[in-house]
Symmetry: C2
Subunit: 296 residues, 2 copies
C-alpha cells in the first residue's frame, strides 16, 4: 500500500543541504548558564566562545545601569537577540493587571536601550481562584493592546512566546503557535508590526501544524526569535530537565530549515533550563552549546 | 475599551443550566484505582458505588477469561465504556510494527466480547534512534488502516486518544484533538465509522481550538469516549500527578457542556493516574469520584 499521511499535514523532512550554522549566527540566552555569575562575566564568556549575540534576562540586569550593560555588550562584539521576559499579565484585580502592564512597559524601554529586537513575552495564565483559560487570554490580549503603540514607538517587538501546553496551568495561557499568531492578527490586523512570536523548539515541536505555523509566521513577518534546546526521553521534571541540542528527540535541523525557509535571518538562541547543565561549569556548557549547534 | 478576544476563538463559558450529572451516566476507568485489586473485586466496588459503567485495562484482564469477565460486568449491572488501551503502533522494524498491529487486532476482539463501544488508542511515538514525529505518524496511520475493517466488523470503534503534548516524546505522536480528527478524516473520508476519538479533558484542556474540535468531532459522530480528571497547579510529575475533578484548573463543567452540546450521550469516564489517589483505599477514591462528578 502507499504511505498514508494525514490530510493537510505538511511532512517535516530533515533537510539535506541546509547551510551550516556558524556560531556568529547564534545567541546564548543567559538562563542557559543558570544565572550564577554577574552579567559582566557572562557577556565576556559568551563573547570569548565565539557566539554572535546574547539574550539577557531582566533578573541579570537588576541593580545594573542598563545603558552601561548595553555598552559592555557592544564592546564585547555581541548583539542582543532579545530581552527575557515579561511579567505575567493576568491578575485577579484590575489594579494588579495594570501594574503588570506598566512593568512590561518599563521593560520595553530597557529592551530598547539594549538594542534588543524583541521583548520575549511569557504571558502568564489563569489567576488564582479561576478555571479555564478564557479570562487569562482576554487579559493578555488587553495587556498587549495597551503596550503595542509603545512597542512600535521604541522599536522593540512584543514577541509572544507560545509555551508548551504543560505550562498552561501556571505560566502561559498561550500554548500553541497558531494561538500566538491569531493574537498577532487580532492586535495587528494590518501588519504594521510591533507584535510577533518567539518560536522555541521545546515548546512547539509536538505540533502537527508546526510547518504551517512557521510558514504563516514568516509570511507575515512575525518570527522575532528562534530558541533551541531539546526534549529528553524520559523528561523527569516539567521545568528543569531540558536537553542540549542533539540529546533528545526534536528534529532541530528540520525546524531550523523551516524557520529559515520562512525568511527568518535572526539568531539561533540557545535557552536551556536544566538542573544538569546548571551544575556544570559555565565554560563547559558554552563549549557543549557550540559543538551541538554545529550539528543542527 | 471593549473586551478583545482572539479572532476565530470560540470562548468557552461555564454553563448556567447544564443538566446535573448522575452517577449512572458515569464510568470508572480501572486505572483510577491503581490496579491493586483483581478485576472481580473492582467490578463489585464500582457497581456498589452507583456508577453506570466500567472501563477495564487489558492488564486487568490478563489471565482471565474475557467472556467470564464480561458476564461478571453485566451481572453487576454495569456497562463497559471502553477498553484501554492499545499496544503502541510505531516500531523500528517492519516485523515489530506488524506484531503491534496484530496485538491490537486481538484486543479489538476482546473489546467486542466485553461489549465495549470503543478500543482506546494510545498510539505510541517515535521509535528509538529517530527524531521528530513524521515516521511515527505515518506508522500510526498505516496501523489504523490495517485495523479499520476489523473494527467495523466487530462493531468496536478505534478511538484515537490525543495525549497531552508532554507525552509526544514517549507515548503518543498524536498530541491534539485536531490531529486525531484529521487522522479520522484520512482513514474514513466517507464517515462510515469505525474510527473516532477519545477526548480526555486532561490531555486537551489547554487547546485554544478545543471548542471547535469538539463541535467538529460531534458533527462527524467521532466522540467515542469522554474522560475526566483535573490539572493540578503545580503538577509535580508528568505521569502520576493528575487531580480529582475540581482540584485543578480545568473548567470541566464547560467542557462537559461542549461535549454534550456536540451530541455525545455516552458515559463520563473518570481516569486518574495519581500516586496520591493510588495510595488511598479504593472505596475512598470511589467516594471522592462520586462527590466530584456531581460538581462538574
Amino acid at each position: 500500500m502507499h504511505i498514508l499521511s494525514i490530510q493537510n499535514c505538511r511532512v517535516i523532512m530533515s533537510p539535506q543541504n541546509i547551510r551550516p550554522l556558524t556560531l556568529d549566527r547564534c545567541s546564548i540566552n543567559t538562563a542557559t548558564l543558570g544565572h550564577h555569575s554577574p552579567i559582566e562575566r557572562v557577556i565576556d564568556l559568551v563573547a570569548r566562545h565565539g557566539f554572535g549575540a546574547i539574550a539577557p534576562w531582566r533578573r541579570d540586569l537588576s541593580g545594573h545601569d542598563v545603558t552601561t550593560v548595553s555598552r559592555q555588550i557592544r564592546d564585547a562584539g555581541l548583539a542582543v537577540s532579545g530581552l527575557c521576559r515579561s511579567t505575567y499579565f493576568p491578575a485577579a484585580t484590575r489594579q494588579d493587571f495594570l501594574a503588570n502592564v506598566e512593568d512590561n512597559r518599563r521593560a520595553l524601554d530597557d529592551a530598547a536601550v539594549l538594542g534588543a529586537p524583541c521583548f520575549v513575552l511569557v504571558v502568564g495564565t489563569t489567576p488564582a481562584g479561576h478555571k479555564g483559560l478564557d479570562l487569562a487570554r482576554a487579559q493578555v490580549l488587553e495587556g498587549l493592546s495597551l503596550l503595542l503603540d509603545h512597542a512600535r514607538h521604541v522599536g522593540v517587538a512584543l514577541a509572544i512566546e507560545p509555551l508548551h501546553p504543560m505550562y498552561a496551568g501556571d505560566r502561559s495561557c498561550v500554548a500553541s503557535l497558531s494561538e500566538a499568531l491569531a493574537m498577532c492578527d487580532t492586535l495587528d490586523p494590518e501588519g504594521r508590526g510591533g507584535v510577533a512570536t518567539a518560536i522555541d523548539a521545546y515548546h512547539v515541536w509536538w505540533d502537527w501544524k508546526l510547518a504551517d505555523g512557521i510558514a504563516e509566521a514568516g509570511r507575515k513577518g512575525r518570527i522575532a526569535a528562534f530558541h533551541v534546546c531539546d526534549w529528553l526521553v524520559p523528561t523527569k521534571d516539567l521545568l528543569l530537565d531540558r536537553g542540549m541540542m542533539g540529546e533528545g528527540v526534536i528534529d532541530l535541523s528540520a525546524m531550523r530549515a523551516l524557520i529559515e525557509a520562512a525568511g527568518y535571518d535572526g539568531f539561533v538562541e540557545v535557552e536551556i533550563f536544566s538542573n544538569h547543565w546548571w551544575n556544570q561549569p559555565e565554560q563547559h556548557v558554552l563549549e557543549a552549546c557550540g559543538r551541538s549547534l554545529q550539528l543542527i
